[in-house]
Symmetry: C2
Subunit: 425 residues, 2 copies
């Protein structure tokens, strides 16, 4: 197979389908989502068979348990996909929304209409459920999609794609509105991210390595989600009970997620009041601590903590552990905390714990991250928690979309103008 030709054909098909999807009513799109849910439900056996082929190949090639776990399509996983489709159907349709209509001195009336982006390319790794998640969000937002999943999941993805095609067909939408790349050749990714005439935006979902590689080579715009080196700063005027709860929750609620705290900053004036208590709680949960010199000195007396504390190195401040490890730094004040965040954070999510109005305002204003919080756990940085209904990713970029990206992030706005024969004079 000539990969360049194959991908161009997918691209042309997608471009052609994009206008049908863009013109489809909310009702038709929702019916399609429901029809896909029904098709999945009716194809449980075929999905299990296809998934078993992938799992067997995975076991044969020595994939580790975590990878195999992500690859598995259990009956519960299929339930979740079906439920996800119905949730997306229940979300308001962003397309066609008209806002900001106002009259200008010339007499014309100007505003904006929300419209789909066109064709969205999704590149992801092993989890086959992303096929449904991504397809449903793109479909609801009126876009055509080209999905390129991991090669380990190719049979599962094809089986899911057949259900999507069945659902689209059932409501008279073109099957090529959602296409799964059928080849596992890596050259397909290279084509997809450079064919600017057919693809409007690329959403990579996966590790930092994947996203950096794609961003480096892409000609198509990329909605990037890089790392999450998130901070909580406990201010000198923090309510220490809130601080305790937020610092513990931000780190230990889940370890492998991008919105988990990786570095705790503590104001010098309250360090002795809060750190020993917090460190014991972390120790209790087997969280390894890596402290600055002051932190290590302060905690040296606590025998239970000695077991889990190490000296932090410069590298620790810019490391996303995604694990039960936490770096801790004692800082002089809110200015130092803001400076540390802006230097070391990955601009994902930062939170200040304080009762001080001016410091809260400064932190919110000056920290340059996609989410900035006051007295809340960093774990709230999430599309569902923010009310987007679902998310296709969290953008650590500033262009186009920043923070959790939901349906709106998959759309654009065009200007619309109403006149009554108006001309420029």
């Amino acid at each position: 197979m000539n990969i360049k030709e194959y991908m161009s054909t997918l691209g042309k098909n997608a471009r052609a389908a994009a206008s049908s999807i863009a013109a489809a009513s909310s009702g038709t799109k929702n019916e399609a989502l429901e029809a896909i849910a029904k098709a999945l439900d009716g194809a449980r056996e075929a999905l299990a068979v296809a998934n078993e082929i992938d799992l067997q190949a995975g076991r044969d090639s020595g994939l580790d348990a975590a990878m195999l776990d992500r690859l598995a399509l259990t009956p519960k996983g299929i339930d979740a996909m079906i439920e996800g489709l119905r949730q997306v159907a229940a979300l308001p349709d962003p397309c066609g929304e008209i806002t900001d209509m106002s009259y200008r001195p010339s007499g014309i009336q100007v505003g904006k209409m929300r419209v789909p982006l066109g064709v969205i390319g999704i590149i992801y790794e092993s989890r086959p459920n992303v096929t449904i998640d991504a397809a449903s969000l793109c479909l609801k937002s009126g876009n055509a999609t080209i999905l390129r999943g991991g090669k380990e999941a190719i049979h599962s993805n094809r089986a899911i794609a057949a259900c999507i095609a069945e659902g689209l067909n059932a409501v008279g939408l073109p099957e090529s509105a959602v296409q799964v790349v059928e080849t596992t050749d890596r050259a397909a990714v290279g084509e997809m991210i450079t064919m600017t005439e057919y693809v409007d935006v690329i959403v990579p979902r996966g590790g930092k390595g994947l996203i950096e590689r794609i961003s480096a080579d892409a000609k198509v715009a990329v909605i990037k989600h890089l790392d999450g080196i998130c901070h909580v700063y406990i201010d000198g005027q923090a309510d220490l009970d809130k601080a305790f709860a937020i610092a513990l929750n931000s780190k230990t609620h889940r370890y492998g997620v991008c919105n988990a705290m990786e570095t705790l900053l503590v104001a010098e004036s309250v360090a002795a009041d809060i750190l020993p208590r917090l460190a014991l709680a972390y120790a209790d949960k087997q969280v390894e601590l890596r402290g600055c010199v002051k932190t290590c000195t302060l905690l040296a007396g606590e025998s239970a903590i000695k077991l889990v504390i190490k000296s932090a190195t410069e590298e620790d401040w810019s490391t996303e552990y995604l694990a039960p490890i936490l770096s801790i730094k004692i800082v002089t004040d809110v200015s130092a905390a803001i400076a540390h965040c802006n230097q070391y954070s990955s601009k994902h999510t930062e939170s200040i714990v304080t009762e001080n109005y001016t410091r809260a305002r400064r932190f919110i204003g000056e920290v340059d991250s996609s989410s900035v919080m006051v007295n809340a756990s960093t774990r709230f940085a999430d599309g569902f928690e923010y009310g987007l209904g679902a998310e296709i990713g969290i953008s650590t970029d500033k262009i186009h979309a920043r923070g959790p990206v939901g349906l709106e992030g998959l759309t654009s706005q065009k200007y619309i103008v109403f006149g009554d024969g108006h001309i420029r004079v």
Copy 2:
């Protein structure tokens, strides 16, 4: 000079200055704009001397009259720059605007705050007044700027840069918030569009060739403004007086602008009623007409028109004339008009003239262009006319900004979250 090192230094300086500019109050930014205006006013002589060096070099190297005209910095041109600075100062500051704050079921309050993009690189051709236009919009929107003007205007741009530095200095903002690239080496552009660590977005201002070259090589996001192949469609249920006025204004108000009409589409049912009258008016203004077969046949009887009408070729439908030339096509109905626009237009601006509600709604909904109009001249597609106050360009892209780009297009939004000790459960 090592261009790579030089550009990196500019980049580092800009990145450092970006946080000062982002943190500057609206008042300080407005004072800076006023101080720059005063500095320009006080430097009229120096500006004239510098500009004369550029003009002389231009004349020596054989620049044509139009190029020399764009290069000239007349006293009136300096007045316009000063006036422009004051207009930008008078615009509302987009930075810090908080919108969409709402409570979520978890109890957190979530919304968005508008923030600067960071560092904006502007690449433009000969007109030195762009230096002030671009610098003022970037400054007002809280961004640092690196300006790379045409080599023909280097002395003028340096003189203007000195005034900008004086103004920034006067209010205590860092001079490197606005930097003019001092070298005319083309390698500087190559560096600027690839140094993603220092530049957040590139705005090229110039011809299609310049923008295509930059987009092809850029690693930094580009706000693209390609061509304007704009259409007016006169529907079978148009008010023919409105149609006459709009078709004439869209083509003949100015010829060399991107929002001028290049192709007129006319519904077959009214072609005989409106085209002869319109063609005579165009002929009167020496507009060359290039018609489809039906148009040529229809107009064959008019001797005054015979002089200016030719047969249109396929190429005409995708040509931006930027000149007194107009292609005309008779189409069956609104569906054919929409299909023609979506195939041939550059997705800049399209307008329908109709009294029919359903056709107006279809055209607005289905035409995929940055501005879609009903009963208004395409010439209204403009930042000033839309109330943006000023524009840095018109984006023909869908990502980030679409249509006229004003201060808001130079910003992003971060999520802000207010809690009272909230944690994820």
